[in-house]
Amino acid sequence: MVAPEYYLLLAAAVFCIGLFGVLTRREALYFLMSVELMLNAANINFVAFSAYYGDLTGQVFSLFVIALAAAEVAIGIGIILVLYRNFGVTDVTVPRGMRW
């Protein structure tokens, strides 16, 4: 097995890429995709430690993360479609009704 440091570094890099995407993009679809990347980084960590310590809990937990990511995407798609219907764009800086 490859040393767990490598997997952790890979996961950290993917997480930082997703964070960069969330911080720089304005379109809501990129937000969703970047959040998917960050959740995948967490999953890589779970599975890597599961294989390293011989503990199945990490794999079971990564399944939960996958399910919650699917739920998050379903809600996110609904919100994006409502956003597009009401404003005609998916730019998250356009809707300001709830901004103080």
Partner: protein
């Protein structure tokens, strides 16, 4: 052991390149396709970590469900607005 590391390095390169592509590419449809490639390469990492079931769930749920949803959203929200890239 060496082959393990080489395979890991290759697929880590694919994962990182596709993830960077998701963030940097301007066309949102291309970004979603690159996201699919990144998720598939993450599934390969899972197989290398003896997590075959998680890899199968990754492919089924992410690539088969989440990515399809995102692609639908991309198609439904496509605008002719020149501000939004429309290739």
């Amino acid at each position: 052991m060496v082959l393990d590391t080489i395979a890991f390095a290759l697929f880590a390169l694919v994962t990182l390149a596709c993830s960077l592509g998701v963030v940097l590419v301007r066309d949102v449809f291309h970004a979603s396709l690159l996201l699919g490639a990144a998720l598939l390469s993450v599934a390969v990492h899972y197989v290398m970590l003896q997590a075959e079931f998680v890899a199968a769930m990754q492919v089924l749920v992410y690539v088969g469900g989440v990515l399809i949803l995102i692609t639908f959203a991309v198609m439904l929200t496509r605008t002719d607005d020149p501000e939004v890239s429309s290739v």
